[in-house]
Amino acid sequence: MEQILANGIYLGSQYAMIALGLTLIFALMNVLNFAHGQMYVLGGFVTYTFYGQLGFPFVVALFLACATLFVLGALIEKFLFGPVIRRSSREESTMLLAAGLAFFFDAVILLVFGEKQRGVPKIVDGVFNWDFRLIMPYDRILICVLAIFSIVGFILFMQYSKTGRALRALAQDRTAAQLMGVNVDRYSMIGFALGAMLAGLVGGLLVTITGVNLGMGGPTSIKAFMMVMIGGAGVISGAIAGGIILGFLEAIGLAVLSQYGDITYLLIFVSLMIFLAFRPQGLMGKPWG
């Protein structure tokens, strides 16, 4: 039981971070970022290159991964999503762009890093063992703590900094924010960059545990969509709740249902659909986001 709870917290904290980036981009631009999983993989590969290959300290590599994705996100918003949103007659057209980007990242990752599974040396050795009731490697605990700190940091940033206030205003009402003197174009770019950076940060953190490979992008995007749906699209607290709930469901499902074969995800999907039938806007979302 303690083991399941610990696994739930560990999975949930990672998932919440992935969902945060996706929901931030959605709240600001109304864009469903299909390429989110690929951004996460890219962050993992940047960390792998600097930490695993070139021997930089882990923190530096992590910082570089964040910086790369931040710049990449800003450029994508400035030159791709911005113009398309302005010119297209239907907002959904951005989905084709996002899917195209997902393919593009997949192609770049395939060409630059290949399709092999890559791993890096452990950052901390040893396993935490509490009387065989709770077993957890130290590096997992460290990553989990780091993830929780990042989430708290992100919330504080959104709540108290000037940029955070501007972003929240933008998410609430674009026109009103513009009328109050918020530079909409600039903050859209920053918001998208922040969302991409969060994806890169999780990728960088997780590369130390699960490693990274090309095929991880798509499934990660689907999981992120699910978390956002559970919590409600475009709501930060919802993304965190969704991530933690999915993390626990997965941990419990894998522990309890393992003898019935691989049906955990089937059950999660089906219960999600039933849940959404009763509460279409998710736990904390506004109706008809």
């Binding site: 109304n30 195209g100 997949d106 039933i274 986001g289």
Partner: protein, 342 residues
């Protein structure tokens, strides 16, 4: 009946001539019979994409067509292999079953809008794949293989369609069947869009509350449209299973669902024939880029992105001076951006 202008009749005649006469003759002249298979795939994917386009027409982003295509493929395969039913009977049953399931699933999920509907349909595709893996009747990951080719179809002793197994090249037969199905599908779509139901759909696309307030039964229409959409998905999937003579849970996955949606976007959401053109361009574009080897995906995705920047409203939104587009779906409908409803 359909009221078509003179240019539209000519366009229709040219199109039918190209599909049924010119293309087979050209292929025969160059001896590239493998192209029959490619074009058949394009036709079937276009049928499924037409369904997706129809849900776009009521303002819903459907990324779940792969689920219904998979369902149709399995229904037809199970009926043919386990019950020994004729393929030609199992084809409409597969479509109708997909439509029936769409009604059941649609009742709750069609209440969702915008990205919520998009995401739930994406999840739906995953659910169907996982269900196909878990159920005993679908044979799990091994799938259903060696499905017999479609048999003879005769009415009152007159053979309408000969037994595919006796033909020298069943691919040609599949090509003609698919072409006929595709023409029927798009004729039905054109008719539907230009009917009263089409007008109601357009009113829903612009504003559901407003449509509802002037007496449009929106919940009824969206169920009907989703059912028709899934019917096309089921038909397309069933034909695909019959051509490949096998069905696996991975026959239609999330990537396929996304591709169906991309076909519609690429062709243009405001045009009935958008999905057909989009499918053709995407499928052939991918095939043509095969020569670039490992750069295939890179070039393909870059082209997609550039296309989106240049023509964000789809290929058919391209204006050719002096030529009125023959494939317009009545009035321009893609005009309005959805307000972010708070």
């Amino acid at each position: 009946m359909l009221k078509l202008s003179k240019t539209q009749w000519i366009g229709l005649a040219v199109f039918l001539g190209a599909v049924f006469v010119a293309v087979p003759m050209t292929i025969a002249a160059f001896g590239r019979t493998d192209l029959f298979f490619t074009l058949t795939s394009v036709g079937l994917l276009a049928i499924a994409s037409a369904g997706v386009w129809l849900t776009f027409y009521i303002g819903r982003i459907n990324i779940g067509q792969g689920a219904f295509a998979l369902l149709g493929a399995y229904v037809s395969a199970i009926l043919v292999t386990k019950a020994g039913m004729s393929f030609w009977l199992s084809l409409p049953i597969a479509g109708l079953f997909a439509a029936f399931v769409a009604v059941l699933i649609g009742l709750p999920i069609l209440r969702l809008r915008g990205v919520y509907f998009a995401m739930i349909t994406l999840v739906l595709t995953q659910v169907f794949t996982l269900t196909a893996l878990a159920l005993p009747i679908t044979n799990g990951a091994k799938g259903i293989t060696s499905i017999p080719l479609p048999g003879e179809l005769s009415l009152f002793g007159i053979t309408l369609i000969p037994d595919f197994a006796t033909l020298g090249n069943p691919r040609v037969a599949f090509y003609y069947t698919t072409a006929a199905l595709m023409v029927l599908t798009f004729a039905a779509m054109y008719r539907l869009v230009n009917s009263r139901l089409g007008h109601l759909c357009r009113s829903m696309q612009q504003n559901e509350e407003l449509a509802s307030s002037i007496g449009v039964n929106i919940s009824y229409i969206r169920i009907i449209v989703f059912a028709i959409s899934s019917f096309f998905g089921g038909i397309g999937g069933a034909m695909f299973g019959s051509i490949a003579q096998s069905v696996y849970p991975s026959s239609f996955q999330v990537a396929d669902s996304v591709n169906f949606m991309l076909n519609c976007f690429l062709g243009g959401l405001g045009y009935v024939f958008g999905p057909m053109l989009g499918t053709l361009v995407l499928y052939f574009g991918w095939d043509l880029l095969f020569e670039f080897g490992k750069y295939q995906l890179l070039i393909y995705s870059s082209l997609l992105i550039i296309l989106m920047l240049v023509l964000p409203n789809g290929l058919l939104s391209m204006k050719i001076p002096g030529l009125s587009p023959k494939a317009r779906s009545g009035p321009e409908v893609a005009g309005k951006k959805e307000e972010p409803g708070q």
